[in-house]
Symmetry: C2
Subunit: 340 residues, 2 copies
DNA sequence: TTGTATGCGTTATCAA
DNA sequence: TTGATAACGCATACAA
């Protein structure tokens, strides 16, 4: 059996309660006993038992992470390691641990979350995605359980603490960028329409076009998941139009990357035949051919802030919801070209 | 306060102990009371309190995951999401939760692990990497704490439960494959020499050469991390030799992918000017230009088996250590060419 | 088949 | 400034 608070008490010649007070560094204990007790702890290699502690404490010092469907392609996106890196940085410094929950279906994810919350495994939760009609969110909301969301909440975005980029503006900006380069036929390629990111970026794209009095052509908008087979068709279809787009706004580097391949197979060169601009600025966008012009959304910081925000929420549940917008930055590389 | 076992007991008109027995589905409780109790649980939406349960139980039903240095480039490798997907599949089905621990330095990782183990947060641990002289492993070993390792242990590999590929043979096989295509000047590109994977693959590479009476040329072996700036030089150096290699064994798709870019910049075409074969068979290798011939190491299964193995270990600590070798498979694509 | 009593390792309340 | 004692919510040995 591991060493307990009683053992320490015995060695230090005090009662367990005193040891407990030393652990929490209570000010009403003499420096002398503190030293004595600490030495005993050192000597025995004592570490407080987490289970007992959180039982008495009603706090677990752990944060739950809800990931999207693990069989989904987005799961493979380096976005997640990076955002977790940010979260973990803060968590670590605030002595919180990380508890991860995922599943193969939305049902599984939901049940996983419920168990994790109901059984008191975590003090708060970070949703690593935002989608519409998410029952995970409804549950948290109803339970009034502390949580933060990375992305823009579908509803009631003022009442829910979240960390996000201004994806609308970002998409609008890059679309304008293409317009300025002389492109008029601009396509939009993205993933699931259930995700708020997709919706926001699409809105931005459309808004830029409207501002330039260009009518939105639904043939130019593609929503396939197409890193694999399926999507290639959607893309080749897009490019086989009588008037194919001369440039594309792609909602993710990973997708953009898949496109490069598809385009290559079709004999189209980037940026000579077609320009591409994308999002996230993953390592990938740097080492691809050509290097991609991409919007850096500062993923690491997204994670950092979401953790900070959640921990504050846990400690002060009654504070009003916070919205934190992480600035983005367009990184110009060589995937866009002026239309002559 | 949430609903407890007492509430259920009251509603069902039994004592808490009876409820407890129903929870663990004890055979010595009548079907009738079981029904009665279960209905009460249902009614109240009761879920056992995790902290109390694991305190009384001395088990947490959670698995600790130790990741490598989060600032390291390998962290970005899609290997991790995929292996976690496998782990999580089993964990979920066996009612285990996942606890993740990482850090920015080896020191942090070590301390994180110690706390997680000592404070009793987890029942067992999976190391998601294997490197030489790992104090994390020494600690686990000394504590006789249940753990499994993904990769080959540096020492005492018979005494430590692990799940691995036969990386030696795999590397040997692909090197032979290149030899058979007529290549004699074959380079080897890999990451850190602290990682067992790297060492094993290198051994395989060398063994194949020796079998063909080709002397090992250290100029042909590169160990840089070179997805970013630094490494490109190492590569161009390699290719600027008087007698540059005509083909490369690259220890990871991500690296191979970075190479494609570097090579392109140098005006070298794959596979016409130089052949490349790599490992892991990530999505990436499929959508790169050209698609990469790569060794599928079945990452998902690696995760699956490691979790299975650990849970068995947790339940039967005295069983001898297991070694599980996951078969690999060479996936031929278009990055290798016969030397004419 | 069920109930009673006790313990799991802490923290917190109340005394001293 | 410290000690005794009762929670925290559940599991289990022992009784009945």
């Amino acid at each position: 059996m591991a060493v307990t608070i009683k053992d320490v008490a015995k060695v230090a010649n005090v009662t367990p309660s005193t040891v407990s007070r030393v652990i929490s560094n209570s000010p009403r204990i003499s420096e002398k006993t503190k030293r004595k007790v600490r030495q005993a702890m050192e000597e025995l290699g004592y570490l407080p038992n987490f289970k007992a502690r959180s039982l008495a404490n009603r706090s677990t010092q752990t944060i739950g992470l809800v990931m999207p469907n693990s069989t989904d392609k987005v799961f493979q996106n380096p976005f997640f390691p990076e955002v977790i890196r940010g979260i973990s940085k803060i968590a670590h410094s605030m002595e919180y641990a990380l508890h991860i929950s995922t599943g193969e279906t939305e049902e599984e994810i939901y049940e996983g979350l419920v168990r994790m919350v109901q059984s008191g495994r975590v003090d708060g939760v970070i949703l690593l995605y935002s989608r519409i009609n998410d029952n995970v969110m409804s549950f948290l909301e109803e339970k009034k359980f502390p949580y933060t969301i990375i992305g823009k909440p579908y509803l009631n975005s003022d009442g829910i603490s979240h960390v996000d980029n201004d994806n609308f503006s970002a998409a609008k900006e890059v679309t304008k960028y293409l317009l300025k380069l002389g492109h008029k036929r601009i396509g939009f390629v993205a993933g699931s329409l259930n995700l708020m990111v997709t919706l926001e970026r699409k809105r931005g794209y459309e808004s830029a076009l409207l501002d330039s009095d260009i009518t939105i052509n639904n043939d130019y908008i593609v929503h396939e998941e197409f890193l694999r087979e399926g999507g290639q068709e959607a893309i080749s279809e897009l490019l086989s139009l009588k008037e194919p787009p001369t440039s594309l706004v792609v909602a993710d580097d990973l997708m953009a990357f898949g496109m490069l391949n598809t385009l290559d197979e079709m004999g189209l060169r980037v940026p000579d035949d077609i320009s591409i601009i994308s999002f996230n600025n993953l390592l990938l966008s740097e080492v691809s051919r050509p290097p991609l012009t991409s919007v850096d959304i500062n993923i690491y910081n997204l994670g950092l802030q979401s953790a900070k925000c959640l921990i504050e929420k846990i400690k002060q549940p009654d504070e009003p919801a916070k919205r934190i917008i992480i600035p983005y930055k367009v990184i110009e590389r060589n995937s866009c070209k002026k239309l002559s």
